[in-house]
Symmetry: C2
Subunit: 341 residues, 2 copies
């Protein structure tokens, strides 16, 4: 009989440009043992998110990078199998940040217990988790959408963008989403109730976007950059707000675009249109977590908010799923289901 | 005996790049006659401000351009010589927006009466006027300086920058000013109490700026752009605020700088450092005018705020004074004294 092992995926090398499967390595390790106050978690769900591309790089950012040979970072939902902490019992579901592996030990004080009766536990990684809260806090605190205004969001079929658009609809806005391909655009229009959906790959995307925004753009929730930003920029109205949440179109960049340097154009527009550009990450609004879960939970219950999950089976498929997500292959929240098949 | 005439300066041509005296033309016109509810003003003081460069261009902005052959726009302080309005009497001093001329008619309801006992009437164009309110509202509403933070301001010997720095000192900040030349830098250090002053023309300006900001930059009051922005940008701290008030280094640009396009660098910094860039013009905060005059008036009276005026004698010298101001030749608020010599 063999010892129980913990399969996991570590960072093998730092990518220059697009990550490939070679930047990841599968490993087996002994099952970790929980110490005092700790719990052993069997992970059921691993969240894959664009920010992980940043953690693969050594470049200075708001968080320290994953080390070479270290387990890839990531949000997880799992089941407690051993508990040395009074709050948790075997069988409890918890949200933790345990990374790309099957089992993990965590301090009981660092995890959050989930109620499977409130919502499916996987939603703690999506619509009721970090992506949902990113959408909620960035849109409401920085975007400040007002009824009748036009809100544009890219990657709109993803977990952040889809919630940005739906909350903007609840707030009475004219909502325009960009997404890759007809299937995603149909989802935005038919299931999520967006007012317009534009395929960001269409050669006439800038013209279509302008047509879809006849009164200009008051809020642009920036999570991609690149061509979409260039198309939105001339449409921004006076006093427009741009919450800057992500720049996935640039995460694999190794060089800057060719000149001229358009920075002065941007600054002149900031001045003459009195734009607000403000970057944020979700933990900047950590104090709003309860309010977020309460309000979005209510919208979910009432059916005003919908969500989709794009589930990949098996930890071994996490690298390709992650690479695909950076290319926009997912529709909805990308999750890896671990050890359930 | 000749009719009394009104000498004035009109826009003769739109500049491409730097304005020259040829873009202006002197004219004489009959003295205008005030209608019902109007007053005739003899102008004593004309304010020269960088925004006027924008009004000389036909490019879309937050205000409409001055037409060819029209009197150049500008803030003015003058004396009422004829009044058809119950509030004003001959000899009253008023603030108006009458432009580059000796006399003007204005609706009584469109001007503001000045009290020469409260402060010299010329201050209504400077420290207690539009430039002062620009500094006050932009710094406090957008910059939000906190005690112990580092505030950097360029064009710091000018009417806006000098007030930004002095208010930041009152708020307990470490204040670093950039200005052109030793005389201006000495003024910042010795008269205005800045913590550091840097000659923006020095070849090692970026290194000196970094040395003067050992804890990075929390607020950069942007009123120049160009090389100063490039030097400040890498020093910005997480959560830094950048009120964008002017870009005088770019007002005469006819082309964009050579590549690569650095826009993605800016957007990445906005994201990873969670910067706030927000453009404004003073009238966006019009509701704070009374509060501004009351608070800055108190600081002036107590000697906590100082100001300088750079006075040019004679309307005919306004074009060269304006051109010189765009090049930073002024120390303090540029004013033209009209008809007093």
């Amino acid at each position: 009989m063999t010892e129980p092992t913990n399969r996991r995926i570590v960072l093998a090398a730092r990518p220059e440009g697009e990550p490939t499967p070679d930047h990841f390595r599968r490993e087996s390790a002994p099952l970790p043992e929980p110490g005092p106050g700790q719990i052993l978690i069997q992970i059921h769900w691993l969240s894959l998110d664009p920010y992980m591309r940043g953690r693969m790089s050594a470049a200075k950012s708001y968080a320290k990078p994953v080390g070479i040979g270290e387990v890839m970072e990531g949000g997880t939902v799992g089941e407690v199998v051993v508990s040395n902490h009074p709050v948790y019992a075997s069988g409890d579901f918890v949200l933790s940040h345990s990374g790309w592996q099957e089992y993990a030990v965590a301090d009981g004080d660092s995890v959050r217990k989930l109620d499977p009766n409130f919502a499916p536990v996987s939603t703690a990684l999506g619509v009721l988790g970090m992506p949902g809260m990113t959408a909620y806090t960035g849109l409401l605190n920085i975007g400040q959408p007002k009824s009748g205004e036009t809100v544009v969001v890219a990657a709109a079929a993803g977990p952040v963008g889809s919630l940005v658009g739906q909350i903007a609809k609840i707030k009475g806005c004219h909502v325009v989403g960009l997404a890759g391909g007809l299937e995603k655009c149909a989802y935005l229009l038919n299931e999520l109730g967006f007012d317009a959906a534009i395929d960001h790959r269409a050669s006439d995307m800038p013209e279509r976007l302008a047509e879809a925004c006849p009164r200009g753009v008051d809020v642009y929730f920036e999570n991609v950059g690149g061509a979409v930003w260039n198309a939105v920029f001339p449409l921004l109205n006076d006093f427009a707000r741009v919450p800057v949440c992500g720049l996935v179109a640039h995460y694999n960049d190794t060089t800057l675009p060719p000149g001229p340097d358009r920075t002065p154009l941007l600054m002149r527009a900031v001045l003459s249109k009195r734009l607000t550009l403000r970057g944020f990450i979700v933990r900047d609004f950590a104090s709003q977590a309860d309010e977020f879960r309460r309000e979005v939970g209510t919208w979910l219950e009432s059916g005003q908010i919908k969500y989709r999950e794009d589930v990949v089976e098996g930890l071994e498929h996490a690298p390709e799923a992650f690479i695909g997500m950076l290319k926009g292959r997912n529709l909805g929240k990308t999750l890896v289901r671990i050890g359930q098949n």
